[in-house]
């Protein structure tokens, strides 16, 4: 078990290291001179050289990378073009997106998993066809269009819900009213993916030998489905949620744009539009690290729950 954890953590560290290099080089590949962006109106070569020197832009690229990653590891992501701390900006914006993402995952799980179970248990029946087809339709609807349509119906026509903006969690009721539509928009795709994965995982479990044994023992159908099949299927589906994190972040970018929520996603788009090097680097580094760390956690939890993988340990 120890060596398995070490190997997984080692692989995650390598991925984090390579990602940080990719982030660093990717930002360097953006067109436009950061010194000119920082200098604003001032295009005097002497001033630009001074700025380059101040920000270390005149040093060799590996030295710049070492300097940047060294500070990043201590929680210092530098300052953006307005002189604000990048780490601070991210810390302010991130909770908004985390709230949106958590609500969406909650909705996705609450809808997707029961639908997947019912669909598998009632395989081939009308309820199975209805739910699989609905899931497929949900997968085919683009987030942002669903958002526009919901604004049109619930905000513009019915005036039931606000069309956007973020209200702090200090006002829980107003906060939820504002978050409801964005969370539904972001959660629909996840619910559809989870329903499909849950259905196929359940079908596989229900066909396994231990289920036949459980039935042969005379256990009730309820007990067979919930105690035996469901437990094994949930383990598989947990990893799917981890892998969906990337899609969730992408979805947050566009959902926040539609509902004008000033979170991490909006910050991403704005930082790229403004060519704010330090900010882009910080954001992408945080997003990629978050993805790697969450998936490492899921992998470790998965192996704890599933002894076969712990022993064999070669699942890649």
């Amino acid at each position: 078990m120890g060596s398995f954890v070490l190997r997984k953590v080692g692989a995650a560290l390598i991925v984090l290291f390579l990602s940080s290099i990719l982030v660093f080089l990717g930002v360097r590949a953006l067109p436009g001179d950061p010194a000119i962006a920082l200098g604003g109106e001032n295009r005097d070569p002497a001033v630009l050289a001074q700025i380059r020197h101040e920000y270390g832009l005149d040093k060799p690229v590996p030295v710049q990378y070492a300097h940047w990653i060294g500070h990043a590891l201590r929680g210092d992501l530098g300052t953006d073009s307005r002189g604000l701390s990048v780490a601070h900006t991210i810390v302010v914006k991130l909770p908004i997106t985390l709230e949106l993402a958590s609500l969406s995952v909650l909705l996705g799980v609450l809808i997707g998993i029961p639908v997947g179970i019912i669909s598998a248990v009632r395989r081939g029946k009308l309820s199975d066809y209805t739910s699989t087809t609905t899931a497929l339709v949900a997968l085919s609807v683009p987030h942002f269009w669903l958002g526009l349509m919901m604004i049109l119906v619930f905000a513009v026509n019915l005036h039931w819900l606000p069309a956007g903006d973020y209200v702090s969690v200090a006002h829980p009721f107003q906060n939820l009213r504002h978050m409801l539509m964005p969370a539904v928009v972001l959660g629909t795709g996840l619910a559809a993916v989870l329903a499909r994965q849950m259905r196929s995982a359940m079908l596989e479990s229900l066909g396994a030998d231990y289920i036949r044994t459980a039935r042969a023992k005379g256990l009730s159908e309820w007990s067979v489905v919930c105690r035996h099949a469901l437990r094994n299927s949930l383990i598989t589906v947990t990893t799917v949620i981890g892998l969906q994190l990337g899609a969730l972040i992408s979805g947050a970018v566009i959902t926040e744009a539609i509902f004008s929520i000033a979170g991490f996603g909006r910050l991403t788009v704005e930082s790229i539009q403004q060519r704010d090097y330090a900010l882009i680097q910080g954001i992408v580094l945080v997003a990629a690290s978050g993805y790697v760390i969450v998936n490492l956690g899921v992998d470790l939890a998965y192996s704890l729950l599933n002894p076969r993988i712990r022993v064999a340990g070669t699942r890649t």
Partner: protein
Amino acid sequence: MSYVELATITPRARRRRLLRKRFLRRPLAVAGLIVALAFAVLAVFANQIAPYSYQTTDFNAILVHHSSKHLLGTDPLGHDIWSQIIFGARASMEAGVLSTLLALTIAVPIGLVAGYYRGWIDPVIARITDVLLAFPFLILAVGLAAILGASLRNAILALGIGAVPGLIRIARGEALALREEDYVRAAIANGARDTTILFRHILPNMASTLIVQATVTIPLAIIGEAVLSFLGLGVQPPATSWGVQLSAAQDYLTEAPRLAVYPGVAIVIASLSFNLLGDGLRDVLDPRTQR
């Protein structure tokens, strides 16, 4: 059908006939195929089918409702919406099909090599795939558009690259499983060259999995193109696409909501048709999911 006729059918032809029969028994998959083909026809013959060019402006008919002259009405610039939708299909199909082909071309050889040779190359490729997966697709695409500039071609590049890591994993998994098959072992024992084994034995046998994957990657790319164009990172006006149309419709959400409805419905129908087709093909080609 006589016995004589049956006896002359090769096993391959018999399998094909069986698969066709299984496919035709799935009405939703057949519907998906027909609609997907219809969109392909719209895309290829947009010039012939559309009543107007996407750039034609009719200043006597601005923001009009549907009429005999304008099937779905017009937008604030007097563009015929039905024609815009047809030309939008062209951008969407291009993005869907070309980016999927690009992703397959990059991912399949890499996955084949990783799964077949294993050794040191396999973990190296696995880590690189992990790194690519760690970057949320949209951030990758936004970044690429910022580096390369916003255009349909660059959106296709970004969408293709975004689909690569997933496809590498699938191709690798298939190659890993297929190399243990008896016929591959037999070929190895017979001293066949690696290229022969890879291209004559392994690749053809993973074709059905790849076809299914390609079919379900296309709708992701269609939606991806719409997202990028909506954010102003894909197709640039005056050229049109469903994403561009939705982006323009945002300003008229209260006055003319239909402007936002039609392109969205087009996206949903187009991606749903490919998803239905993909699900049907998976059922037909993969014996494990037989009902």
